[in-house]
């Protein structure tokens, strides 16, 4: 078994630990794993500017490499790198004076007994994904990211909470409201089309 295969069998966190201990080459394995994911995330997030999105993904990897020693290996690496990417994308939106989610929102204030999305219905998930995809640009920004991270990047509630720095229950609320909003927009689009 060659070195590359060995690394491919390790978890993200194990590879991150290798990089922290000086195996710089191991960072390449992490880049391979996340390049497509982050480009897809950025493509959805910054659909209007492909060049800026690619630069932001590169910047994300650069920052991840520079700050890898700050990563706590007991946490999920995916949340950590998506958080860096999220910050990069938000900075681009800010530079372009585009809408970003506000620092404070009432849905982070109180607990919400929101039920978790059912993940055992792939067919329904595919339909939801297609519906969200159609009207993604028209959704309010605060619903876009949780939907994107949950339905397209397959992150868990806890990971999304870590990326967006919001309570876990708020993730559930935003997913539910985001789905409802996409259904309304989708129906409207369908009606206009007909």
């Amino acid at each position: 078994m060659n070195q590359l295969d060995e690394k491919n069998q390790k978890t993200d966190e194990e590879i991150a630990r290798l990089v922290q201990s000086g195996d710089i080459g191991a960072f390449g394995a992490l880049m391979n794993r996340y390049q497509i994911k982050l480009l897809r995330y950025g493509h959805k997030f910054l659909s209007s500017d492909k060049g800026a999105m690619e630069d932001a993904v590169q910047e994300t990897f650069l920052k991840a490499y520079q700050n890898i020693r700050d990563f706590d290996v007991s946490r999920k690496f995916s949340s950590w790198i998506y958080r860096i990417a999220h910050n990069e994308f938000i900075n681009i939106l800010k530079r372009k004076h585009q809408e970003t989610s506000s620092f404070f929102s009432t849905d982070i204030l109180f607990p919400h007994p929101a039920a978790k999305e059912k993940t055992d219905q792939p067919a329904e998930d595919n339909l939801t994904r297609a519906m969200i995809d159609k009207c993604f640009d028209q959704l309010p920004i605060k619903y876009r990211e949780p939907l994107l991270l949950y339905y397209f990047e397959q992150l868990s509630y806890e990971e999304i909470a870590d990326v967006l720095r919001i309570p876990v229950s708020t993730v559930g609320v935003r997913l539910k409201r985001g789905k409802e909003a996409s259904r309304i927009i989708y129906d409207k689009l369908k009606y206009n089309h007909e």
């Binding site: 700050d70 946490r75 109180f110 607990p111 919400h112 909470a161 720095r165 309570p167 876990v168 708020t170």
Partner: protein, 260 residues
């Protein structure tokens, strides 16, 4: 790749900053409790609406604003940690407020502020000295305290205030005056009065009998000063009062040294 020590230093600075803001908030909360107690404002709400009105007016709102700003900064610092941002904001806000309040009230129960006020009165407290002098010793308008020296008639009596002055207390009709802790006022009772002063006459809205240990700290300091300096004429301005307290505290120190 940035070296590990940079992140360690970052965490240390972040932790020290949070600790500093936490300490400032606790100090401000305990100081608010101390000056409310020291100036006798604790008693005011017991007098009903007129007391509540004076309580609200005399409340140290600038310090309250400072506490709110400190709490906001602390909340932002705490939100960096997963245990805080993963839960609804109300939990971390309540947690911070409860911890700050409990520690603040505990610190108020220690002699820290009393000793600091005494040091400030002796001009021995740099930086925080003016804070103690401006807030801790500032009298509240419409609150008077003293010992009943004579009962003139059913509606009037005389008190001797901590500054040595005598005031005639007039109760327009007994039903207009809220008397707390047993209505009958007797000679040598210590009383706190809220009312309007006109010269040496005070028209009372409320009267409360005080136990010896309930005398506000500022009044105690005034009384101690007067007992030491019986022959010295009492003064009325705030600065003159401070000077007298200062002189008196220095005299106390000198006497103690001589005795030793």
């Amino acid at each position: 790749m940035k070296p590990k020590y940079r992140f360690v230093l970052n965490t240390v600075f972040f932790g020290l900053g949070a600790f500093l803001v936490f300490s400032l908030t606790v100090f401000a909360v305990s100081f608010i409790a101390f000056i409310l107690r020291g100036r006798g404002a604790w008693f005011l709400p017991g007098f009903g609406w007129p007391g509540i009105k004076i309580f609200i007016i005399s409340f140290p709102w600038i310090l309250v604003l400072a506490v709110i700003i400190f709490l906001a900064i602390l909340e932002i610092l705490v939100k960096h940690f997963g245990f805080a941002y993963r839960r609804p904001l109300i939990y971390s806000v309540l947690g911070v407020v409860i911890v700050i309040s409990v520690v603040g009230v505990y610190i108020d129960s220690t002699p820290l502020h009393t000793n600091a006020l005494r040091s400030a009165a002796k001009s021995n407290l740099p930086i925080a000295g003016p804070l103690y002098m401006n807030y801790g010793l500032a009298p509240i308008d419409n609150i008077y305290e003293g010992v009943v020296s004579d009962i003139t008639d059913e509606t009037d009596f005389l008190i001797e205030a901590p500054d040595g002055k005598s005031y005639n207390i007039a109760m327009p009709t007994s039903t207009d005056v809220k008397i707390i802790k047993n209505g009958k006022i007797q000679k040598d009772d210590r009383v706190m009065i809220i009312g309007e002063k006109d010269g040496s006459n005070i028209k009372a809205f409320g009267i409360q009998k005080l136990e010896i240990n309930e005398e506000p700290l500022f009044h105690q300091m005034q009384r101690n000063m007067r007992q030491k300096n019986e022959n010295q004429p009492s003064s009325t301005t705030k600065n003159q009062k401070y000077d007298e307290i200062n002189r008196n505290e220095k005299d106390n120190d000198k006497t103690n040294k001589e005795n030793n």
